[in-house]
Amino acid sequence: MLEAFSISVQVGGKRLVHGVSVEVPPGHLLAVVGPNGAGKSTLLRVLSGEHAPTSGQICLNETELHRWSAKQLAQMRAVLPQDSSLSFPFRVLDVVLIGRTPHLRSAETPHDYAIVDQALRAVDMSEFGRRPYTTLSGGEKQRVQLARVLAQIWEESPLGPRYLFLDEPTNNLDIAHQHRMMRVARSLKDQGVGILAVLHDLNLAAQYADKIMLMQNGQVSANGFPSDVLTPNRIKEVFMIPVKVIQHPTAFCPVIVPVP
C-alpha cells in the first residue's frame, strides 16, 4: 500500500500542495485530475520519492519512503515521466534495457533481454528494437519509455507490491495508443501493481480508474468513484466549463461532454 498523510509542498514561499492525503492500494488505479497548476505533478514527484515533502508522511509497503534505499525503491516502483530528453542515439532495445538497472548485479543476462522483448511487445514496439531512439516520433518515444518502466517492474519484488507512477502518459499518443497505454496499465493492475496516473483526459480517467482524485489549487477537491467525483457541478466549479455527464453505452462509466 502507498499511503500519504497531509502532504504539503512549499517552494520559495509558494504553496504548491497543501494537506493532501492519498492511498493507492496494490491492484488499484488512482487517477489524479485537475486544471493546469493544480499541483498534480508536484504531488506525483513527492509520492515517487523524487522530492521530499515540506511536511507530511509517506509510507510505501508499510515503511516510510525515505527509509528505503534508492535501489530498493527502484526495485518496486517505476515512474513514467512526462517527456524524456535523450539526445544520444541509443538503440530502442538499449533504452528499455536501462529499465533493468536496479536489478542488475554485473552484466545483463538473457533473462533481462527476454523481459525487454516482452515489454516492447506489450507496447506494440517489437519491430523497433534495433532502431536508434533519436529517429522515433514523439509518440513512439513515449511508448519506448513506457516499455522501459514496464521492464523495471516486470517481475514481482520480494520487497512487496509494486507501484507505477504515470505523469500524463497519454501525451503525444493517438487515440488508439492512448487506450492501448491505459489497457497496459489495467493489465498491470490486474497483476497487483498499484498505479497512480496524472491524467488530463477526464473520459480516459473515468473509463480506466478505480478512483479519481480531483485537485484544485494544491488541495483535494474530491476523491472517490468516478461517477461520484465527476459531476457536472463540480467540473464546472473546478474547470470553469459547463458540461453534461452521460453514460458510456457499453462500459457504463460517466462520459463528460462539454456543452456550449
Binding site: G49, E50, P81, L86, S87, F88, F90, T101, T134, Q152
Partner: protein, 337 residues
C-alpha cells in the same frame, strides 16, 4: 593498435632502434637475454627518454579522453569536455601567474621545488577552479548541472582574464614559456613525471568505467536516474573529483592538450554506439593511442626541433573530425546528437 603505436613511438627518433633491438632492450630490463645486439646509446635513449615519454603519453591520453567521455555523459551534452567546468583554465591561470611572478620565489625555494613548481601550480589551479565551480552549483547537497555549466563558463572567463593580465606583465622570455606551455608538450617526460601522474590518472581509469551504467541512466535525465535507483549526487561527486584529479595531473605534466577529451569519445560513439560500457574503456584506449601517435609526429616532423603536441592534435584531429561530421550527415544518420 595501442601496443603497435607505442612501439613505433619508441623506435622512431634521432636515434633509431629496430623492432628486434627494442624487444631485446625491454627484455634485458626484465632479466631476459635475446640474441639481438644494441649499443649503450640506444639503451639509454629507450629507457631514460622514450619509455617514460610514451608512458606519460599513454596516461595523459587515456585520462583526457576518459574524462571527456564521462563529462559528456554527466552533462548529457556531446560537446562537454573537462575544459568546460574550468579545470583547464584554472590550471592555465595558475601556471601563467607562476611563470610571471614565481621567478623570485623560485630562487628562494631551491632546486627541487623549482623543478616541481610548474606542475604543482597547474594542479592546484585546476583543483581550486573545480572546487569553486562545484561549490557554486551545489545547494543543500544537490548539484545543479546547468548551474555547473554556467559557473564553469564564468570561471573560464575570469581565469582567462587573469591569465591575460599576467601575459601583459610578462617579459619576452616568460611569454615564450607561457605560449609553449599553453600548446602542450610531452617533452618534460621523466620517470618522476610518470610516477606522479600514475596514481591520479590510474584512479580515474580504475573507477570511472564502473559508472557506465549510472551514466547510461543519467542520459535519460536526473529524475529518471533517481527513479532507477541511482544515487546521482554521489555519482556527480565522484565524477567531478576524479576528472579534476586526472585532468589536473595531465595538465600539470604536459601543459594543456586540447581536442583529445572532446573528440575521442565521439569517435568511439561512431564506432561502437553510445553505450558507456564500451565508450568509457574504449575512449581510454583510443585516447592513449592517439596521443602517443601525435607525440611521435610532434617530435619527428621538424627534427631536431619539436612541435608542441597541441598543434598536432588540433591540426590533424580537427579536419578528421569535420570529415566524420560530413560523412555522417551524408549518410543521414544521427550519429552525433
Amino acid at each position: 593498435m595501442l601496443l603497435l603505436t607505442s612501439a613505433m613511438g619508441i623506435a622512431t627518433g634521432a636515434v633509431t632502434v629496430s623492432p628486434s633491438q627494442l624487444i631485446a632492450i625491454l627484455a634485458q630490463s626484465a632479466g631476459l637475454d635475446f640474441p639481438w645486439t644494441y649499443d649503450a646509446r640506444q639503451e639509454a635513449v629507450v629507457i631514460a627518454i622514450r619509455l617514460p615519454r610514451i608512458l606519460l603519453g599513454l596516461l595523459i591520453g587515456s585520462g583526457l579522453a576518459l574524462s571527456g567521455a564521462t563529462m559528456q555523459g554527466l552533462f548529457r551534452n556531446p560537446l562537454a569536455d573537462p575544459g568546460l567546468i574550468g579545470i583547464s583554465s584554472g590550471a592555465a591561470l595558475a601556471v601563467t601567474a607562476w611563470i610571471v611572478l614565481g621567478g623570485p620565489l623560485m630562487e628562494l625555494a631551491g632546486a627541487f621545488l623549482s623543478y616541481a613548481s610548474l606542475p604543482l601550480a597547474a594542479f592546484i589551479g585546476s583543483i581550486v577552479a573545480t572546487l569553486i565551480v562545484y561549490r557554486l552549483s551545489t545547494q543543500n547537497g544537490r548539484t545543479i548541472v546547468s548551474t555547473m555549466l554556467l559557473a564553469g563558463i564564468a570561471v573560464n572567463a575570469l581565469a582567462g582574464a587573469g591569465a591575460g593580465f599576467f601575459v601583459l606583465l610578462a617579459t619576452d622570455d616568460q611569454l615564450r614559456d607561457i605560449v609553449f606551455w599553453s600548446l602542450g608538450s610531452l617533452g618534460g617526460a621523466t620517470w618522476r613525471a610518470v610516477l606522479t601522474t600514475v596514481p591520479f590518472v590510474g584512479l580515474a581509469i580504475l573507477a570511472l568505467p564502473r559508472l557506465a551504467r549510472s551514466l547510461n541512466a543519467l542520459l535519460l535525465g536526473e529524475a529518471e536516474a533517481t527513479h532507477l535507483g541511482i544515487s546521482i549526487e554521489q555519482v556527480k561527486r565522484v565524477i567531478v573529483v576524479l576528472t579534476a584529479l586526472a585532468v589536473g595531473a595531465s595538465v600539470a605534466a604536459a601543459g594543456s592538450i586540447g581536442f583529445v577529451g572532446l573528440v575521442v569519445p565521439h569517435l568511439l560513439r561512431l564506432m561502437v554506439g553510445p553505450k558507456h560500457r564500451l565508450v568509457l574503456p574504449g575512449s581510454a584506449l583510443l585516447g592513449a593511442t592517439i596521443l602517443v601517435g601525435a607525440d611521435t609526429i610532434a617530435r619527428t616532423i621538424i627534427a631536431p626541433a619539436e612541435l608542441p603536441i597541441g598543434i598536432v592534435t588540433a591540426s590533424l584531429g580537427a579536419p578528421f573530425f569535420l570529415w566524420l561530421l560530413l560523412r555522417v550527415r551524408h549518410q543521414g544518420e544521427s550519429g552525433l546528437a
